[in-house]
Symmetry: C2
Subunit: 442 residues, 2 copies
């Protein structure tokens, strides 16, 4: 008897996990490889960054999700390269043979050639990113509380979010909530509601993928929350204590210790590896262009799905890097793998767009179903419902989610912990003593 | 008008937080200083270390707890020294004048002169400790899953807990739960229930502060859970891949990558500073001996409470380092501060021991109320109830706690995330390829 067909899946995100589950009754052996031991519900990562949720609320161990799936093994490992000739995934500490490969390794931050900005302007892709951002935001308020110089204090209370896509909008809106409501009575020397939250976007409107009417509504909602929206503005420099913005010909230097990056993403480096090995092309975001059946030229045994794949809709427009695309592609790939032994095929992959939605702050969202566009509280309820359902699907428990919905209503953000190996000293603290009886060290 | 009397409290644990709250209506100005921005419910830290709870479940921001208390400010800072002559707390980045000082800075781990053991055998005092231990435990199972050499695999699956006080017993019991139940179906190459969990104690029984009958019951419960209890045993060496135990004249080297330290504690270094400045004596655990009114000799304006204070009961026996002692001492100190302006005094501090209790594993605990001793499921219910009530008192929400109680019943431990800046490579991985189709890198 032959060994069963071995499907290796790289990545345990929406794409990889969905593919593994879809293959649960297939006569194949599945190995899911991830660098992390959990599936992360990335759409809610900004809630961890702003202290509304704990990491475990949006992350579920992959082994727990797949424990009952007997044909599937999970391996905690980093894939460094694909050897397409020998059909092997090269791990940092071993190798893994495959018959069919599904690459769903996702994307990471991209600083447009300014890698040095990363240290000052962390992105939001991992749990570690999120707890680091949470730490920076909270330490900025703590530093402001102890700062007596009004100029330096205002710098501590200035937050700049770069990029007004869904993540940037959610982050800026939630930061405004945090400053204006949650922390309102927490301090004695500062008024957190004087915090300045800038949302910077190079395009001419926020939430660019949305119809312009919804973008305008989102911008108004952000302004109501206390966010200063700066569209048509580029970032030209990020330093430890400032960011320089350019709109038109004008440069403006803004003193701040907290710059958060939600601007560019770039596919996993495996995309480049696959493109050069198979002759597939890469797009601007380093995504590898896939054939209509999501495989690579000359390599029907390699599927690339999710944020790593450049895949166009019927109008020729590239599909966005969102969870529903990855999930539908995963199902397509898994179904095709199961059909192949019978010699049958599937028609090319077609993305069924059920709509997009984005939340802005408490009880405020925009929803675009294509045939229906709306915003406000009802939109937020729809957003909440859809995300709650997805979270449950991906293994998180309803109880936790009710807590989170409750947080929204009560504006409680109980997970605002400053953690990390060395929580002190405060960011950007200069030296001055605060008014509350602290004197400068001699 | 004079400035109000300024009470500075160092530490936001059970003692410091209770003192601050007790002074909420007093005509004084209170400043609470802590290195962390949250109060940590330390008795449940072992639950974070074993993936049953998230850090935010047992930690509440100090500012949130004290936001409505108008006479109180919170400062995030590290106190490095007390200048008792000038009545100033020296911070790492400033100074703070006081009229009355309450020092409640707690204790940290102590390796009995072997500070080099700490890197291999982390203790359990902070959130960072707990997530680090969680990471080590989970990575050990991951490494075992990928290890083919049976001897090395068994080393990965060997866990040694040093110290059988309440923390060590809880940690060992919960580790056994994790291995034998929670993870049972998670792996494909290993059977987690073959994990070996050793609980090492130099005394002749576990839970030494308890009556010997309850110790025996606890030891039997641990054995039933699959823990190997080794009393009368010392640790003589801790290395990255082994621990050496000595019972009698016999040395035994045990191959393991996971040694957890629950043995010794030592008071905060501020105790030493205070002792040398005031002439108070230090005990073996570096706790400063306080007068019957919890102050220091010649310094009625300095109170030392909680794990930092050496304070004897009426029989001359030192009080244990547990939360109820710290809480009662905090109330005493706060009351005395409020009485002093009227010239009145309080009789010496007297600890009212309402009993001690310790949990061992799921639905198993020992309770000693002095007049009544019992163990088993009822004891566990009592333990659960008391801890739930205390958690609520200290600002955590009932919903989270119900989740946690539910975890106990379902044996779910959903917070078993491996986080940290560089989650890979696995601990203690040598080189060998596992059976599941991974080949060694050439």
């Amino acid at each position: 008897m032959n060994a069963p067909h071995h499907v290796v899946i790289i990545g345990g995100g929406f794409g990889g996990l969905t593919a593994a589950r879809r293959l649960r009754r297939a006569p194949v052996r599945v190995t899911l490889v991830d660098r992390q031991n959990f599936h992360l519900f990335q759409p809610l990562l900004y809630q961890v960054a702003t202290g509304g949720l704990s990491p475990a609320n949006i992350a579920t161990p992959l082994r727990a999700l797949l424990k009952r799936q007997q044909n599937t093994a999970v391996i905690l490992a980093e894939v460094v390269e694909i050897d397409v000739q020998r059909r092997r995934a090269i791990l940092s500490d071993g190798e893994l043979d495959y018959d069919t490969l599904i690459v769903a390794a996702g994307a990471r931050h991209h600083y447009f050639g300014h890698a040095e900005w990363e240290q000052h302007a962390p992105g939001l892709k991992t749990i570690e990113n999120a707890t680091r951002i949470r730490r920076r935001i909270l330490l900025a308020f703590e530093a402001a509380e102890r700062e007596t110089d009004p100029v330096r204090r205002q710098a501590c209370l200035t937050f700049v979010v770069v990029g007004a896509g869904p993540t940037g909008v959610e982050l800026a809106g939630t930061l405004a909530e945090l400053a204006h409501h949650t922390l309102r009575k927490d301090f004695r020397n500062i008024d957190p509601s004087t915090a300045r939250i800038l949302l910077v976007e190079c395009a001419d409107r926020v939430l660019q993928p949305y119809p312009s009417g919804l973008s305008a509504k989102a911008a108004r909602a952000l302004t109501r929350l206390g966010v200063t929206v700066r569209t048509g503005t580029n970032v030209t420099e990020v330093l430890a204590d400032s960011v320089t913005l350019r709109s038109g010909e004008q440069d403006e230097r803004i003193a701040t210790h907290t710059v958060l990056w939600a601007a560019g993403v770039e596919a996993s480096p495996l995309a480049q590896n696959l493109a050069s090995a198979t002759g597939a092309t890469l797009d601007r975001s380093c995504r590898v262009t896939v054939l209509p059946d999501l495989t690579l030229p000359g390599h029907p045994e390699i599927f690339v799905i999710g944020d790593m794949a450049h895949c166009s809709d019927q109008a020729g427009k590239p599909l966005p890097g969102v969870a529903p695309v990855a999930i539908q592609q995963a199902k397509y790939a898994a179904d095709l793998i199961q059909l192949r032994p019978s010699g049958r095929a599937l028609s090319p992959f077609h993305y069924k767009d059920r709509g997009t939605m984005s939340t802005i702050g408490r009880a405020e969202a925009v929803v675009d179903l294509g045939w229906l566009r709306f915003s406000g509280f009802i939109a937020w309820l729809v957003w909440l419902f859809v995300h709650l359902m997805s979270l449950v699907t991906f293994g998180n428990r309803a109880l936790v989610l009710m807590q989170w919905a409750g947080n929204y209503v009560t504006r409680n953000r109980s997970a605002r912990l400053i953690t990390g190996e060395s929580p002190l000293p405060l960011v950007g603290r200069a030296s001055s003593p605060p008014a509350a009886g602290i004197d400068r060290a001699p």
